[in-house]
């Protein structure tokens, strides 16, 4: 019996015992105007440009607003912007802000604030860097108007300003936005629907957000980061709980109202409690992955990489990650998020059907592999990477590979994977990760799909074909063109095995039934969420 089994058993028993019982005194005393939320991780810093962790982005979306917001149809919609104009040659974008926008310190939001904020964001964001590369000038025309002049058209401008991928282009006061993008800000003043209560922030334990009375929501219905962000409670308290069993017990006991992502092991327990609702949190899910180091043998030979793809069973990986709940995963013959408008799995045959170990072994032998150790980094403190690592070790052994299984923690993987030295000298051959589906819809914010050698993500794949097709997507002008381009990117990336996708999986979110208005999305949206006593 291991620790997780003990937790599950106890939490399960607790769930059954509590069914039908009233909330304890501690919950009854809590105000219905305060929503208590257990986030996916600790809010260790609060600069959404300096730190790009999802948890920071999620908290920042409460405090800072964006010029545009992505909606549930994945379309950019105006948010702080009232109108925009594009010149005939597509090189000049002129934007006008909505009137009456205010920062939490009472100052109006001006175009100069936007210019400073966009400059800071662009220095850290992949799409922002693309814009900077073709930027002629970014200037404030008047208090409410600013202009972005480019040397060549950039059709994805509105998407770049609306996207929910970290870092988002949050708008801050100029004095704050002038901070070096590689240094942390020290003031947390935004113009979003909630204020950050810095005095109550206990990093690692608690963060508090208070309703901003002067926020002027848009009139449209809220849809993800777009529309009217109506806040229905006075306070939102983020309570960090490192232990999932404690979070499950606290939710059952009414000590918290909403748990962002319960682990799969405990979902069945929560589902049995009549006071709790459980549903898929983010329909865009996640893509599991492992990356092979393209710089060193054996994976510097595409045949070795293909041999691994040929043999890997995505079902094995997905069951290791999410268990037996088949509603939580699906095979993914490619790199892009399924069920999205431009999804295309062209060229994904190698990942489909029965696994062919004989052919894979033959191909591996042709690559010249002769039993040298394969250094496989596996972070044991992340359930997703640990589960994938165990499956990969088995897969490689069945292929006849000599696995050097390096069980370590995520912090160590994070630094070791950046090493370009040979595997025997501190480098590596493989590491495991996963990508939020929201980041993998298109190549826009999809760093892991890039294959530009030294400049690519860890593993440094070099696939000119993939890069060419990515450029094709950026130039696409219609959704049909985009979809076709995505197909070509998928095919090229699979041919050269930029990385190995291990499948698509979803996670749940859970909340007390006295909370309403929770919507599915790539981040927890607090607007429209209310709570009864």
């Amino acid at each position: 019996m291991d620790r997780r089994t003990v937790l599950k058993g106890l939490a399960g028993a607790g769930g059954l015992a509590l069914t039908g019982l009233s909330a304890p005194a501690i919950a009854q005393g809590a105000s219905a105007r305060t929503l208590r939320f257990v986030p996916q991780a600790n809010l260790a810093n609060f600069d959404p440009i300096w730190g790009t962790q999802y948890v920071v982005r999620n908290a920042a979306a409460l405090v800072w607003d964006t010029l545009y917001g992505i909606d549930a149809q994945l379309q950019p919609q105006r948010q702080m912007v009232e109108s925009e104009e594009t010149s005939d040659d597509g090189k000049t974008w002129t934007f006008k802000l909505r009137p009456g926008l205010k920062f939490h310190d009472g100052e109006p939001v001006l175009a100069k604030d936007v210019v400073a904020s966009l400059s800071r964001w662009a220095a850290r964001d992949p799409m922002g860097l693309m814009i900077i590369a073709i930027q002629q000038e970014l200037t404030a025309v008047d208090d409410r108007t600013f202009k972005w002049v480019l040397k060549q058209p950039f059709p994805k401008m509105l998407y770049a300003l609306a996207k929910n991928n970290a870092p988002c282009s949050f708008i801050m006061p100029e004095r704050i936005a002038k901070t070096d993008p590689f240094k942390q800000i020290t003031e947390y003043v935004g113009s979003g629907p909630m204020k950050f209560a810095k005095g109550e922030w206990v990093p690692g334990a608690k963060a508090v957000f208070e309703k901003f009375a002067d926020y002027v929501p848009r009139q449209e219905k809220a849809s993800w980061l777009a529309g009217g962000k109506q806040i229905m409670v006075d306070r939102v308290e983020w309570i960090v709980m490192p232990d999932p069993a404690t979070a499950a017990a606290a939710l059952q006991n009414g000590e918290v109202d909403w748990w962002e992502n319960p682990i799969a092991d405990l979902v069945s327990v929560l589902k049995k409690n009549k006071n709790i609702s459980v549903d898929i949190g983010d329909p865009l899910g996640n893509i599991g992955s492992f990356r092979m180091n393209h710089l060193f043998a054996p994976f510097n030979d595409v045949r070795a990489r293909r041999a691994v793809l040929m043999a890997l069973s995505q079902e094995d990986y997905m069951r290791a990650i999410v268990g037996d709940d088949t509603a939580l995963w699906k095979p993914l013959p490619g790199f892009f998020t399924p069920d999205t408008p431009v999804y295309n799995e062209l060229g994904g045959e190698i990942l489909k059907g029965k696994r062919d170990f004989d052919a894979a072994k033959k191909l591996l032998a042709e690559s010249g592999y002769s039993g040298q150790p394969v250094t496989c980094l596996v972070a044991q403190d992340q359930p997703i990477t640990k589960a994938q690592g165990d499956v990969t070790a088995d897969l490689l052994k069945r292929l006849g590979m000599n696995v050097d299984f390096v069980a370590t923690d995520w912090g160590t993987v994070g630094s070791r994977r950046a090493q370009k030295t040979p595997p025997g000298q501190g480098g590596w051959n493989m590491f495991h990760s996963w990508h939020a589906g929201a980041d993998c819809i298109t190549p826009a914010a999809y760093t892991a799909i890039r294959a530009n050698g030294d400049k690519a993500w860890f593993g440094w794949p070099n696939s000119p074909n993939t890069e060419k097709e990515i450029t094709g997507w950026f130039e696409a002008k219609s959704i049909d063109e985009e979809k076709a381009a995505i197909g070509r990117v998928n095919k090229a990336a699979i041919e050269d095995v930029v990385y190995a996708p291990t499948g698509f999986f979803l996670t749940y979110t859970a909340w007390r039934k006295n909370v309403s208005g929770i919507t599915k999305g790539p981040l927890p949206f607090f607007w429209g969420v209310s709570k009864s006593a």
Partner: protein, 313 residues
């Protein structure tokens, strides 16, 4: 005595210096890079390098160490790499919950373990002794998190007497403060109670064989008086020692207990800092813990003189 205390306090300085050097060196050579964690998964190597530079992590070891020592000498524990908050402020935020947990656990231990140990020694070899020692073995063997979850299940989920998690400061009232600490203190105290009970029993057994105990019995003294006035006082030195040493156990156990009961204390801060490689915070906490440990040892030495007048420094 006063000069002894002063000498001991001065003697802590080289100990602290060695601890500081050791911790700093260990962190320097440990794998992992806070810049990578900060930069996020999608960051380019250039971004990571720029962050590393901005944090001063690219400087040579001696420069970094010298700069850290200089700050420490000026009473500045530095700034957290991640939160951008002063380490002293972060420790200050977390000190209350941990201190509360340790005090309640310590009181619980003394109140429960010492009488149990005395009774076990008094009834040595009997069923009562075996039951108490059986409990001690059980308490010592069970991991803190298992006890914690069982307590949470029974007393929070099943009976709804106490909350599952969290911490309420004493300023919000005595009961709100205590109700959050009862279950964690029992969970954390189990090992400690077992240890102290066993040591108390062993020390008492030895004392109870002494001639003066026989004399006390012959004089017709009551059992309670013999046990708790004459015997316990003479058995106190090893008991006090183990209570002091046990504080190290409490520090280690607090890390797990605070995670299980979501108490925002120093234990959780330590774990978070280690996982993120937040070097200034780790260094600050280790320095604090080592200082506390040295101080506890000093207090034990002073307490020796109170329980045993023969001891003089």
């Amino acid at each position: 005595m006063l000069s002894y205390i002063l000498r001991r306090i001065v003697a802590t300085l080289p100990v602290m210096a060695i601890v500081a050097l050791f911790v700093f060196s260990l962190l320097y050579i440990a794998p992992g890079d806070p810049a990578v964690v900060i930069a996020g998964d999608q960051a380019s190597p250039e971004d990571v390098e720029r962050i590393r530079q901005s944090l001063g992590l690219d400087r040579p070891f001696l420069v970094q160490f010298g700069s850290w020592v200089w700050r420490i000498l000026h009473g500045d524990l530095g700034t957290s790499i991640f939160t951008n908050l002063p380490v002293s402020a972060m420790i200050g935020q977390r000190l209350g919950p941990t201190l509360s947990l340790m005090i309640v656990t310590l009181l619980l231990t003394i109140v429960v373990a010492v009488p149990l140990g005395v009774v076990a020694a008094w009834k040595a070899g009997s069923l009562i002794d075996r039951v108490i020692m059986g409990f001690a073995v059980f308490g010592f063997s069970l991991p803190v998190f298992v006890v914690g979850y069982m307590l949470a299940y029974i007393f929070a989920l099943e009976l709804e007497w106490l909350p599952v998690q969290g911490y309420t400061p004493l300023s919000s009232g005595f009961w709100p403060w205590l109700e959050n600490l009862i279950l964690p203190a029992i969970a954390l105290g189990c090992v400690y109670i077992a240890l102290v009970a066993r040591i108390t029993r062993a020390a008492m057994l030895e004392v109870l064989q002494q001639d003066y105990i026989r004399t006390a019995k012959a004089k017709g003294l009551g059992q309670g008086g013999i046990l708790f006035i004459h015997a316990l006082k003479n058995a106190a030195v090893p008991i006090v020692t183990v209570i002091g040493i046990g504080i190290a156990l409490l520090i280690g156990g607090a890390v797990v207990t605070e995670s299980v009961f979501a108490i925002p204390g120093l234990g959780r801060l330590t774990i978070d800092a280690i996982l993120r490689r937040d070097y200034p915070v780790i260094q600050g906490i280790v320095l604090l813990f080592s200082f506390v440990y040295v101080l506890v040892n000093l207090m034990i030495d002073v307490i020796y003189t109170l329980v045993d007048p023969r001891i003089r420094y």
